[in-house]
C-alpha cells in the first residue's frame, strides 16, 4: 500500500472560517435549549463568533499562505473580502431580530443559517482549489435558498425560494461541469495550474478545447451567482420575494464571494485573456445597460435595487475585463463599499417592511417627515450607490473608470460613465421623494430600533470615511492585487 502523506497543517489560515462554523454550531445547539422566540443570546453568540473570526482574519494580513495540502490559502485579497463578508453578516445579524419578530418569523434557524452561509462565502474566497470553492459555494447557496423561503406564510417568498433553488442548482451544475472538464484537461482542480497547462497545450488538441469549455462553463456558474447580465433573471424576483433581511444579506455577501472567485479565476487564466476577454466584455456591457435601464422603470424599491445590483455587477465586470492593477484595485474597493451600501439600503427598507408599509418608491415619499434619521441614512446610501462624492461609491467607480481607460477599454469606460448617470437618475429620484411631501396621510410613526441605529451609523461612517479618505483601503487593495500578481506563495505542506 502506498504510504499516506499526512499534510502539515497551518491552522491559522482556516481559523476565521472554522471560528464561524464553530459559532454556527454553537448557535444551532443553543437555539434548542432557549425558550421559543428568545433570540437575543443567539444574536450575541453569533456576533461574538464573527468578531473573533474578524480578529483572526486581521492577524493574517500580509501572509501569503497555502496550506492543508494546498486546498486552503490566505492572502490579502482573502483578508479584505472576508472582512467585508464578516462585517456585512454582523450588520444583518444586528438588525434582523427586530424585523423577524415584527413579521412573525420567529425562526431561530435564521441565525445558524446566516452563519453557515458566511462560512461558505469565506471558504469560497480562501482557496484556489475549485472543489473547495464549490463546497463553499454550495454551503452559501443552500443556506440562502432556505433564508429566501423563510417567510413560510407568504406565497411570494416561497415562489422566490423555489425559483432561486431551481436556477441556482442549475448554475451550480454548470460550475461543477466546468471543474470536471478542467480536471480532465490538467489532472488537477487547482486554478493556479490553469495558466501552465494552457501554455503547454497545443491549439486544436483535446487539452486546449477542454480548458476553453471548462472556463466558459465556470463563467456561467459564477455569472449566475454574481447576477451578471444574461444570467440575472432570478435577481429581481428573489430579492423582492425574500424577507428583506435575507435580501440585505444575499445581495452583499453572495456578490462579494462570487466576484472574489471570479477575480482569482480570471487572473489565474491570464494567458487565456484573448478568449475570455470578449465574453466578459459583452457581459459587462449588457449588465450595465440592462441593470440600469430596467431599474429606471421599477416601482418597488427592492426590485429597483435588485436591477441596480445587476448594473453594479456590470461595473465590477468592467474592472475584471480591464485586468490591470488600477482596475483590480477598483474591484476590491468597490466590493467593500458595495457590501456596506447594500446592507444599509436594504436595512432601511426592512424598517419600512417591518412596519407593514409597502416598499414601493411611492411609499417612501415623505419619509423624512416621519423618520428623519432613517431618511437621512437612506439618502446618503443612495448617493453612495449613485457614486456621488464624497462617498465610497464614488471612489469605487473612479478606480474602475481609470482602470478601464488604462486597460484600453474606452467604450466600456464611456458606458460605465453614462450608465452611472442613468443610475443617478433613479437613485436621486428616490432620494428626492424621501424629502418630498407624502402623497397620502402618513402611515403610523414607528421608531428606529437601537440596533438599526448602530448598524446605519456604521454604514454611514464607513461610507463617508472611505469617501473622504479612500487612500488606506485603496492602498491595501492595491497591495493585495500586487501580491497576487507576483504569485509569491509560502506553501506549507509536508511531504
Amino acid at each position: 500500500m502506498e504510504a499516506l502523506n499526512i499534510p502539515q497543517v497551518e491552522w491559522s489560515a482556516l481559523l476565521p472560517v472554522l471560528t464561524v462554523v464553530g459559532a454556527a454550531l454553537l448557535v444551532l445547539i443553543l437555539e434548542l435549549f432557549l425558550p421559543r422566540g428568545q433570540h437575543t443570546p443567539l444574536m450575541l453568540v453569533g456576533l461574538l463568533g464573527l468578531g473573533l473570526a474578524g480578529y483572526f482574519q486581521l492577524a493574517l494580513w500580509g501572509a501569503s499562505l497555502v496550506t492543508w495540502a494546498e486546498t486552503a490559502l490566505s492572502d490579502n485579497i482573502a483578508v479584505l473580502l472576508n472582512l467585508a463578508i464578516l462585517v456585512s453578516s454582523g450588520l444583518v445579524l444586528l438588525f434582523a431580530d427586530d424585523y423577524l419578530r415584527a413579521r412573525n418569523m420567529r425562526y431561530g434557524e435564521f441565525y445558524p443559517l446566516l452563519l453557515f452561509a458566511t462560512a461558505g462565502a469565506m471558504l469560497m474566497i480562501s482557496s484556489t482549489n475549485l472543489m473547495v470553492v464549490f463546497l463553499g459555494l454550495e454551503v452559501l447557496s443552500l443556506s440562502l435558498y432556505v433564508l429566501t423561503g423563510l417567510a413560510r406564510a407568504e406565497v411570494r417568498s416561497e415562489e422566490a425560494a423555489l425559483k432561486y433553488f431551481l436556477l441556482g442548482a442549475f448554475a451550480s451544475a454548470f460550475f461543477l461541469y466546468g471543474i470536471a472538464l478542467l480536471y480532465g484537461a490538467q489532472g488537477s482542480v487547482d486554478m493556479r495550474v490553469i495558466s501552465a497547462s494552457w501554455v503547454a497545450s497545443m491549439p486544436g488538441k483535446m487539452t486546449n478545447a477542454l480548458l476553453v469549455a471548462s472556463l466558459a462553463l465556470m463563467l456561467v456558474g459564477l455569472g449566475f451567482k454574481a447576477a451578471l447580465a444574461p444570467f440575472h433573471m432570478w435577481t429581481p424576483d428573489v430579492y423582492q420575494g425574500a424577507p428583506t433581511v435575507a435580501t440585505a444579506y444575499m445581495a452583499a455577501v453572495s456578490k462579494v464571494a462570487a466576484f472574489g472567485v471570479l477575480l482569482r479565476l480570471l487572473s489565474a487564466a491570464m494567458p487565456m485573456l484573448d478568449l475570455w476577454s470578449p465574453i466578459m466584455w459583452a457581459i459587462a456591457l449588457l449588465s450595465m445597460l440592462v441593470g440600469n435601464l430596467v431599474a429606471l422603470i421599477q416601482r418597488d424599491a427592492k426590485r429597483m435595487l435588485a436591477y441596480s445590483s445587476v448594473g453594479h455587477a456590470g461595473y465590477l465586470a468592467v474592472g475584471l475585463v480591464s485586468m490591470n492593477m488600477t482596475s483590480l484595485t477598483g474591484v476590491l474597493f468597490y466590493l467593500v463599499a458595495y457590501a456596506l451600501m447594500t446592507v444599509g439600503a436594504f436595512g432601511v427598507l426592512s424598517l419600512m417592511a417591518r412596519a407593514g408599509d409597502a416598499t414601493t418608491v411611492d411609499a417612501l415619499r415623505g419619509l423624512a417627515r416621519r423618520q428623519p434619521f432613517a431618511a437621512f441614512a437612506m439618502a446618503i446610501l443612495m448617493l453612495s450607490l449613485a457614486g456621488i462624492p464624497p462617498t465610497a461609491g464614488f471612489w469605487g467607480k473612479w478606480y474602475l473608470f481609470l482602470g478601464a481607460l488604462e486597460g484600453g477599454q474606452t467604450l466600456l469606460a464611456i458606458v460605465l460613465a453614462l450608465t452611472s448617470v442613468v443610475g443617478a437618475a433613479y437613485y436621486l429620484r428616490l432620494t428626492f421623494s424621501l424629502y418630498a411631501d407624502a402623497l397620502e396621510a402618513p402611515a403610523a410613526r414607528w421608531s428606529v430600533p437601537a440596533p438599526m441605529v448602530v448598524c446605519l451609523l456604521i454604514c454611514l461612517i464607513g461610507l463617508i470615511g472611505l469617501g473622504i479618505a479612500p487612500r488606506p483601503l485603496a492602498e491595501s487593495s492595491r497591495q493585495a492585487v500586487e501580491r497576487m500578481a507576483n504569485g509569491e506563495w509560502q506553501v506549507v505542506s509536508g511531504e
Binding site: M1, A3, L4, I6, L25, L28, I29, L32
Partner: protein
C-alpha cells in the same frame, strides 16, 4: 489474480445463505393469514394502485432525508476505520482526528433533529384530526 476475488465470492455465498435462511425460515415457520392488504405488493406504505398524485405525509420525505445523511456517514466511516489499522502510527492520530471531526458534526445534527422532533412520526395536529375521524365513524 483470481485468488484475490475469493473473499468476494465467499461474501456472495454468505449473502445468499443468510437471505435463504431468513426468507425460508419465515415462510416455513410463520403463520399465514393473508388479507388483501398483506398480499398487495409492498410500496413503502402507500396503496400501490390508483393515482400517483395523491397527498401523503411529508414525514416520508423528512425521514428519508435524515436516513440518507446517516447512511452516507456509515458509508464513509467503514473504509475510514478499515484503513486506520494499516497506517503508520504517526498518521493514525491525524486520520482519527479527521474522522472524529466528521462524526462530531453529524452527532450535533442528530441531536438537533432529535430535539426538534423530526424523528417523531406523529404530527400532533394530524393525530388529533385522525382521532376525531375515528370517533365519528
Amino acid at each position: 489474480m483470481p485468488a484475490e476475488y475469493v473473499p468476494i465470492l465467499i461474501l456472495f455465498g454468505l449473502a445468499a445463505v443468510i437471505t435463504a435462511v431468513m426468507v425460508g425460515g419465515s415462510w416455513l415457520l410463520g403463520p399465514r393469514r393473508p388479507t388483501p392488504a398483506k398480499t398487495a405488493p409492498y410500496e413503502c406504505g402507500i396503496t400501490p394502485v390508483g393515482s400517483a398524485r395523491e397527498r401523503f405525509p411529508v414525514h416520508f420525505y423528512l425521514t428519508a432525508m435524515l436516513f440518507i445523511i446517516f447512511d452516507v456517514e456509515i458509508a464513509f466511516l467503514y473504509p475510514f476505520f478499515v484503513m486506520v489499522r494499516d497506517l503508520p502510527t504517526e498518521a493514525r492520530g491525524f486520520v482519527i482526528g479527521v474522522a472524529t471531526a466528521f462524526a462530531t458534526l453529524l452527532i450535533i445534527t442528530f441531536l438537533y433533529e432529535l430535539k426538534k422532533g423530526a424523528l417523531e412520526w406523529e404530527d400532533p395536529v394530524e393525530h388529533r384530526r385522525l382521532k376525531a375521524e375515528l370517533k365519528n365513524q
